[in-house]
């Protein structure tokens, strides 16, 4: 009784402020330090409040750039990325990034302006039903109906975005809501009866996994981005070491387990290592941790882990049993679950022969490529990049062959250094994501590894590098083609290169110069090394256009419809 009276008092005494000011207050409550956005009519009141509050705002040159930057920021900081765009075209320009964040479980809180409430539904100027459009590609979304609801909605949105299986949450704010006054009151606790993610694992299932571990002779861990999202790297390391379980990683899980660890067998899947794929093919116990058994990982399910008891640890119950029948389902956060497993210190199985066998695969059939002294091989380029940055840079990639080469040859011993668009495979992602990463981690070198095709989808963000003097190094892996498309046409379409060769290209060095950014073209290994070293020490933005061999393919490869054991090009 008394408590509610006090609460009432608080509201009455507090002053009225505008929705836009409530928005600022909401960001401050969540300790948001930067907003990535682009202004327009419907968000003018909000931009005015941003101006007054001196909130840090990165103005990208396209809304897609803003949302990918927020994704890069979220990946390296673990905090939700915040995006702001206007109604209509501003909002629809975000759609690709929202879908990307949804499928890769990246926490974002996205604010869009909307036309005023009284004209919603009348096809008003710059009206788009962004709540309807983004319903299937958001974890949740809202349209604010009253200014006084905004603080509660924002608190919920940040909570939903960054807990459970993370993801994007969109808040649509009609223009009049940003102008209307409402009391500035504190939001009490979050009340979301329909949203209670399970963090702690079911002890019974943990016990079953312990028992399975005793029996297993060929256990394998498949670790994904869920390990990173849960910050479970240490627990994973302890678990793998205690039971001596070989580790295979998904594309998005790279860095979650140190690549230089004796139990690490690299990336699995379509372009994974021989050892990692054979581990998944041949194992007798498969433990998936925060990985969703995507089709590019499993290959043909008919052949996937067919001899194995499958255990799956995931915070999202809907992922368990979705693609792969699972005997030991464990719903829980990777950290809590691995902790629980580590605490039991169960009896160990004997995996020593298996470890020896896989290590033999690893040393006898490593990733490989054929070099010659005439050409700059893209794989070599990645190795040089690794060497010059001492493997410690944040690497953000675009989508295509260069992405796979970066994943294969830029190995990570630390987590949260790897940013890539996995599930959606969004060309244009890599460069703006690198910008966001640099904003989030100014202390680390950031390299955007992009293709000559994909870079042209979002290169207008060079303006941001110029504007903020952000020392992002852009490495263009220039094969004068949409390489990954070209590779598939070579292999599956008898070399009919339909619209995949990019002979006509801009002069990327001059393009950089137009933005006041230094650039260089590198044609061989020495030039690459020299330019990278100079770029790293200059602490300035840099564009390095690398002329790599145009007909190189990514191997090993599993053709669509084939099983993990049917890799081609294992020997380069």
């Amino acid at each position: 009784m008394k408590a509610s009276w006090v609460a009432e008092q608080k509201t009455v005494e507090s002053s009225l402020v505008s929705g836009a000011e409530l928005f600022i207050q909401g960001l401050q409550n969540e300790n948001v330090d930067v907003v990535f956005g682009y202004p327009g009519g419907a968000v003018l009141p909000i931009y005015d409040a941003l101006y007054k509050a001196e909130m840090k705002h990165v103005l990208t040159r396209h809304e897609q750039g803003a949302i990918h930057a927020a994704q890069g920021y979220a990946r390296v900081t673990g905090n939700p990325g915040v995006v702001l765009a206007t109604s209509g075209p501003g909002a629809t320009n975000l759609v690709t990034g929202i879908a990307d964040a949804m499928i890769d479980s990246i926490p974002l809180v996205i604010f869009t302006g909307q036309v005023a409430t009284k004209v919603i539904g009348t096809d008003a100027f710059q009206e788009a039903d962004i709540v309807g459009i983004t319903m299937p590609i958001t974890k949740h979304n809202y349209q604010v109906q009253k200014a006084e609801d905004l603080p509660r909605i924002m608190k919920e949105a940040f909570h939903i975005a960054n807990t459970g299986r993370k993801g994007p949450v969109l808040i649509d704010i009609p223009k009049d809501i940003a102008v209307n006054n409402a009391p500035l009151k504190e939001v009490s606790d979050i009340h979301l009866p329909g949203y209670q993610p399970t963090l702690k694992p079911n002890i019974l299932q943990v016990k079953r996994l312990n028992e399975a571990l005793q029996m297993a002779k060929k256990p394998v861990l498949l670790t994904g981005a869920g390990v990173l999202a849960a910050k479970a790297e240490e627990e994973l390391l302890a678990f793998a070491e205690y039971y001596q379980i070989p580790v295979a990683q998904t594309l998005l899980g790279l860095g979650g387990f140190p690549a230089d660890h004796p139990l690490c067998y690299g990336m699995a899947g379509m372009h994974g290592t021989y050892a990692a794929n054979m581990a998944l093919y041949d194992c007798d116990l498969l433990i998936g941790v925060g990985a969703r058994f995507d089709d590019r990982l499993t290959g043909n399910l008919e052949h996937f882990a067919k001899k194995a008891v499958v255990a799956h640890i995931d915070i999202d119950p809907a992922e368990i049993g979705k693609n792969v029948p699972t005997e030991i389902p464990i719903v829980g956060c990777a950290k809590e679950t691995l902790k629980a497993l580590n605490q039991t210190c169960g009896e160990k199985g004997n995996s020593s022969e298996w470890v020896i066998q896989l290590s033999k695969y690893r040393s006898e059939l490593p990733l490989t490529y054929k070099s010659n002294d005439k050409e700059l091989k893209p794989q070599k380029l990645m190795e040089i990049l690794h060497e010059v940055t001492k493997g410690a840079a944040i690497v953000s990639t675009d989508v295509g062959q260069h992405q796979m080469w970066a994943a294969q040859y830029y190995t990570f011993s630390t987590s949260n250094r790897w940013i890539t668009s996995g599930g959606l495979g969004t060309m244009g992602f890599g460069f703006p994501a690198a910008i966001g990463a640099k904003v989030g981690r100014p202390d680390l070198p950031v390299v955007a590894v992009v293709g000559d095709g994909g870079f042209q989808m979002t290169l207008q963000e060079l303006g941001v590098l110029q504007d903020w003097e952000l020392p992002v190094i852009v490495v263009i892996v220039n094969n004068k083609s949409l390489g990954m498309v070209r590779q598939w046409q070579e292999i599956f379409y008898e070399k009919r290169y339909s619209h995949s060769l990019l002979d006509i290209q801009p002069d990327f060095v001059k393009l950089a110069a137009a933005y006041g950014i230094e650039g260089k073209r590198a044609e061989n290994e020495d030039e690459v090394r020299e330019a990278l070293e100079a770029a790293l020490s200059s602490k300035k933005p840099f564009v390095l256009d690398c002329a790599v061999s145009a007909d190189e393919n990514v191997y090993p490869m599993i053709a669509p419809g084939k099983g993990l054991h049917e890799m081609i090009g294992v020997r380069g």
């Binding site: 299937p136 979304n141 349209q143 009866p193 329909g194 119950p317 809907a318 368990i320 699972t326 005997e327």
Partner: protein, 172 residues
């Protein structure tokens, strides 16, 4: 197989959109869907009938629905003891000769006549879907002008048989 699924949802705008959109996205075919208020004005109940290939798909459906923030509770009622009802309004062509015949015919179905005109009668029938189907088939020879069915709504019975359910994939 046919599945009857009930979802308790927050009575907010967009919930139904999210729910049906999700079914479309995951390629579930909705046979019918009913929505209405519950004892709590903030909460609505949705009853869905869907066709799914197998148990695994059915479990996926339940889990995906459950994931939605404004869906509070999801239950697959298919294997439970339940009472389910559907209401149908049926407009049948009549002649002076057939009118009383139809009246006799519908009696065991406890259907009632809601409206009578010179050329037709409108009937109301309530029951499980099989009963409604059966009546419609009986009336078909007379000429059916229009049918409007609500779709199934269902509730589990107060007493359930105890069954040891060991679901291979189940975790909920």
């Amino acid at each position: 197989m046919r599945r009857i699924i009930s979802a308790t949802v927050l009575n907010e705008s967009g919930v139904l959109n999210r729910l049906t959109g999700l079914l479309t996205k995951r390629q579930f075919n909705i046979e019918n869907i009913t929505v209405g208020h519950t004892e709590d004005p903030a909460v609505s109940k949705v009853t869905l009938t869907v066709w799914v290939e197998d148990d695994r798909k059915a479990e996926q459906l339940v889990k995906q629905l459950h994931k939605q923030i404004n869906i509070l509770k999801v239950r697959d009622l298919t294997n439970m003891a339940l009472v389910s009802r559907e209401l149908a309004l049926i407009k049948v062509l009549t002649t002076p000769d057939t009118r009383s015949e139809i009246k006799m015919l519908i009696e065991p179905f406890r259907a009632t006549v809601l409206d009578v005109s010179l050329e037709n009668v409108t009937l109301e029938v309530t029951g499980d879907s099989e009963k409604v189907d059966a009546l419609i088939e009986l009336l078909r020879p007379y000429g059916i002008k229009e049918i409007s069915r609500t779709g199934i709504t269902a509730i589990p019975r107060g007493t359930q048989k105890k069954v040891l359910e060991l679901h291979p994939y189940s975790i909920m």
